[in-house]
């Protein structure tokens, strides 16, 4: 154990730890302001915001401070070091840097998208001075809306921390962003005609500590202080990036990556970042519907569920092996578990199948080299996976437990074509409806087709019962990613209209009392199915829990 003193507080460091002084100070509870430093990027020590004083404790107990200030980001914490983050000298250096940064800043906070989550605001408040002594004309630079399809640059607000430039060089490997001009006239720019449109480009907006790089998707939509944040998991591929859903009044405004070294690291891809819009879609299914001949009627849940339950039970009693339940890889583990419990309670001979698993192309690994080729596996910093669903492993683990083998969706279609399917309970949740008219044709002969989904599709126009389910931001539960990491998702917004979380539908079908409670269901799942045993506490921390060590379940 090594000890380092920060502002008269002692901090313990493990032998193997390599911390810089920002991190060490964080541990002691002191904030060292910084712009250019980011834990996922190389150190450039250029913003000079994190200047602190350092010294050493001599054997005789006296402290010898260096005459110079040093950047905390660049200085490794060494045993015996004495650091002053709030001495007069350090505070003066920090305040001076902030004053410099604001010299040519337009101070347009009232109309700035970053206001409320801006480090220029926060640090000015904490470390800066209350007024400007700059009497000269500010440098005015043109804003650039051509930086990327989803990115706009408000040039004047930039503090030249170069985080965005380093991101495109070090993480995406695409190197679109660069600095042009010199000195006080330096600006971020792209090479003409080559905008920053790589699949990770949206991250530069999160990395930007000020309001310079803004997301065109979010621009002017909402003041950030009205947003509420809910932690969740991105469902758009099996990487399962930890995210934060920012929402207000039941509308999702944006997704942001949440740092999680177990899942994805620091970032997320644009496919996931901008792939939430189906939640707010105008044509969401909002009420249960029952088909009578050619007409569908909106009905209430209390009407439809008893009828549906009765009809399914009757069909199962007559021919249990022709009753199928299809579990979509978009269901949470809890939902899949409840669905299976209900279906199997009707008869153990009922058939369980997995829904279609969308796979697009191959895994996309970063950073790319100059030719756009992916890096070797051990040098990969970020992967966008080809499997475009969040919970295949979780659903399959449940299917395997109850049925041993897993029937594919093709097997369902095959059985339907042979006329061997009397009841088909189909769960969906796909953001791009996975159902095509071919599926419709194949499922024509199904006696009773029940579709539980979120968006209209060819299947909803032929199904007997249509049950509106919930999207990932509208429910609680567990997703298991490609590596067997179980992560919790939380409800951020209400499902639209009469739509309900899938878990609640299955609880009602099971005739259980009350509403589904994710931690309780998780604990139940853990006690029923051995591979989910690591979840027996019911709660999952923000970083998730690996099922079965670190391997697959």
């Amino acid at each position: 154990m090594a000890v380092i003193t920060i502002n008269d507080k002692d901090v313990q460091l493990a032998e193997s730890e390599r911390l810089n002084l920002i991190q060490a100070a964080q541990r002691a509870g002191y904030e060292v302001p910084h712009y250019c430093w980011h834990p996922a990027l190389t150190v450039v020590a250029s913003c000079r915001m994190c200047l602190v004083e350092v010294g050493e404790k001599k054997p005789d107990g006296t402290v010898a401070m260096q005459p110079r200030v040093v950047p905390a980001c660049q200085t490794p914490a060494r045993p015996g070091m004495v650091v002053r983050t709030n001495s007069e000298k350090a505070k003066a250096a920090q305040a001076a840097t902030l004053e410099y940064l604001l010299l040519n800043h337009p101070l347009d906070c009232p109309v700035c998208d970053q206001a409320g989550e801006c480090y220029l605001q926060d640090y000015s408040y904490k470390f800066g001075r209350g007024y400007s002594r700059f009497k000269e004309d500010k440098i005015i630079r043109p804003d650039k809306d051509y930086i990327g399809e989803n990115i706009a640059l408000f040039t004047d607000r930039c503090v030249m921390c170069s985080r965005c430039v380093r991101f495109t060089r070090e993480i995406s490997g695409t190197a679109e962003l660069q600095i042009i001009h010199r000195g006080a006239h330096a600006e971020i720019d792209v090479f003409p005609g080559q905008p920053c449109n790589n699949k990770l480009a949206g991250n530069v907006v999160d990395l930007c500590p000020v309001g310079a790089l803004c997301s065109k998707d979010f621009l002017y939509k909402q003041r950030v202080w009205f947003l509420k944040s809910t932690s969740s998991v991105c469902p758009r591929c099996s990487t399962g990036c930890s995210i934060t859903i920012d929402h207000h009044k039941d509308i999702v405004y944006r997704l942001r990556p949440r740092a999680n070294p177990q899942a994805q690291g620091w970032f997320m891809c644009d496919e996931g970042r901008f792939g939430y819009k189906y939640i707010n879609a105008a044509d969401r299914l909002i009420s249960p519907m029952v088909r009578h001949d050619k007409h569908t009627l909106y009905v209430g849940w209390e009407e439809v569920l008893p009828v549906l339950r009765r009809q399914v039970r009757q069909a199962v009693t007559e021919a249990p092996e022709s009753a199928w339940l299809v579990l979509s890889p978009w269901l949470t583990c809890e939902e899949a578990y409840l669905a299976v419990r209900w279906f199997r309670s009707l008869s153990p001979q009922t058939r369980l199948a997995s829904g279609p698993v969308p796979v697009v192309g191959e895994d996309d690994r970063y950073p790319k080299d100059v030719h756009g080729n992916p890096p070797p596996l051990d040098k990969t910093l970020f992967t966008i996976r080809a499997e475009k669903c969040p919970n295949r492993l979780g659903v399959e683990a449940i299917l395997k437990h109850y049925q041993g083998t897993i029937h594919s969706f093709d097997a369902v279609l095959e059985a339907a074509r042979r006329g061997e399917v009397r009841v088909l309970y189909l769960t969906g949740g796909y953001p791009e409806p996975g159902w095509t008219s071919e599926h419709c044709t194949a499922l024509e002969g199904v006696g009773t087709l029940i579709v539980q989904d979120i968006l209209p599709s060819p299947l909803t126009s032929v199904a007997k019962y249509i049950l509106p389910g919930a999207a990932f931001a509208e429910k609680d539960g567990t997703f298991v990613n490609h590596a067997g990491l179980a992560q919790a998702i939380h409800r951020a917004v209400q499902p639209p209209g009469e739509a309900r979380s899938d878990a609640r539908i299955f609880v009602d079908l099971l005739e259980r009392r009350g509403l589904p409670h994710a931690p309780a269901l998780r604990a139940e799942l853990a006690s029923e199915i051995p591979c989910f045993a690591p979840l027996n506490a019911g709660q999952i921390g923000p970083l998730g829990v690996f099922l079965n060590g670190e391997g697959k379940p």
Binding site: V43, V44, A45, S46, C47, R48, M49, L51, P67, R68, V69, V70, P71, Q74, K89, A92, A93, A96, T97, Y100, L101, L103, N104, R133, F134, K135, E136, D137, I139, V159, M160, I179, H181, R182, G183, A184, H185, A186
Partner: protein
């Protein structure tokens, strides 16, 4: 004074840029001598001589060489800093134009001592004639077996020398900025550690030395460390941080003098001697108001400080940053210090690379304040503001990555402390009386 020039001894000799003339005058004798020694012995000789870097910082050259990792598998690079861009400095140019083989010999000896196999001469782009004379000298040396493989028949010593023309920025003269520029990137100085001797150009150990430093190496090997130590100023025994100022130095004299020139003198001459004995006195019969001791970034000496010895420690005793490049710029008593300082600030504003916030914004701010003062809209409080900015960006150590901000700050500090009355008067009269002259 009986000082015999050494570095400039071939100056004016017809055709001395040619290899055979240079050799007739004793050229490449030092290289032969060095090759009879082991590299470690050469390093020791240079270390013993007390040679300090001539580029501005005055770091002991031999000590720098010992920072190279031992038993490195190579390659090790030697970068020759010929990006001479400190205002008022032109000694490298004279060395390269007048006596290129002397420089080349020093490069070869230094490469032998540091086990470097490639030397890059990072040449200021504007130095077209230097480029041509140096390139001719390099070609001649290759043809004569003084460069390339198996130099002077030694099967274990190879050296390739490349001339790299710079990208036209002051910051390319900073050693890590030079390396970045050499690698083809923006000349943004690197954070240290790692120092270039450990990880420099192309992530390999690299030594960066000034042209004049390497020219001195030639003569140290030729005449010995003791000869070098017999010239100049020994360290002050009462100052443990003074490493001494040994050897000859090229002083550049420019500005308001009758005879701007570059002279070679032992370290430690005074600014007054330089102006009177070599610069031919201040022009037009005027008096000097201020003198820049070693390139504008070092600050100003006032008239009463002209007897300061210009060695590595002298200028610091009167509040200047240091000796710098020993480029003496004379400013006569008819010149406004406001204009001088504005020009200095404008230069550093223009040359700031923009990496560190204090330098990028501070140089801009200082220039704008001085521009306003010159427009007659200055206020007395602006002077304290200028001093505070100078203190924040450069005088406080550690606020920026490289020394450019220090160079921008010291002239401001010196001008405003040594000539404050003039600034105040200028502001009070809204700059008008200066326009009447």
């Amino acid at each position: 004074m009986s000082f015999e020039p050494v570095l400039l001894r071939n100056r004016g000799v017809p055709d001395v840029q040619r290899l055979e003339v240079y050799q007739q005058r004793g050229g490449y004798r030092a290289l032969e001598k060095a090759l009879r020694m082991s590299p470690a012995e050469v390093v020791q000789v240079v270390k013993d001589s007390g040679l300090r870097g001539r580029g501005g910082a005055g770091f002991p050259c031999g000590v720098k060489w010992t920072f190279l990792p031992k038993d490195h598998s190579g390659p090790i690079y030697l970068c020759v800093n010929a990006d001479e861009s400190e205002p008022g400095t032109f000694n490298n140019r004279i060395l390269m134009e007048e006596d290129p083989h002397q420089v080349l010999e020093g490069i070869t000896i230094s490469a032998y001592a540091t086990r470097a196999t490639t030397a890059y001469i990072y040449l200021r782009y504007e130095y077209g004639r230097c480029y041509r004379t140096m390139q001719r000298a390099v070609d001649e040396a290759y043809a004569a077996g003084l460069l390339g493989r198996n130099i002077l028949g030694r099967s274990d010593f190879h050296l390739d020398v490349y001339l790299h023309r710079g990208a036209g920025a002051y910051i390319c003269g900073e050693e890590t900025g030079l390396i970045e520029s050499l690698e083809g990137k923006r000349a943004w100085p690197r954070i240290k550690p790692p120092f270039p001797a450990v990880e420099g150009a192309f992530r390999k150990p690299t030594i960066v030395n000034n042209v004049e430093t390497l020219a001195c190496v030639t003569h140290i090997l030729d005449r010995g460390a003791d000869w070098f130590k017999s010239i100049g100023v020994p360290p002050d025994p009462n100052n443990p941080r003074d490493l001494g100022s040994y050897g000859p130095k090229l002083y550049c004299i420019s500005g308001h003098v009758n005879n701007p020139c570059c002279v070679e003198l032992p370290l430690g001459v005074t600014a007054r001697q330089l102006i009177e004995e070599h610069g031919g006195g201040v022009w037009k019969g005027r008096k000097a108001k201020a003198v820049v001791p070693g390139g504008i970034s070092m600050g100003f000496l006032s008239e009463s400080e002209l007897d300061t010895p210009l060695d590595f420690i002298g200028p610091t005793k009167v509040g200047c940053l240091g000796l710098g490049t020993a480029a003496v710029i004379v400013i006569d008593d008819q010149t406004s210090m406001v204009d001088v300082l504005y020009n200095s600030c404008r230069f550093f504003r223009h040359e700031s690379c923009g990496q560190c916030t204090p330098c990028r914004e501070g140089t801009e701010w200082m220039t704008k304040i001085l521009a306003r003062i010159r427009r007659g809209q200055g206020e007395l409080s602006d002077l304290d503001q200028l001093l505070e900015i100078a203190n924040g960006i450069g005088i406080t150590p550690g606020t920026t990555i490289c020394g450019l901000a220090d160079g921008a700050a010291w002239p401001v500090k010196n001008a405003l402390t040594k000539f404050r009355a003039e600034f105040e008067e200028y502001i009070r009269h809204h700059g008008r009386h200066h326009d009447q002259r």
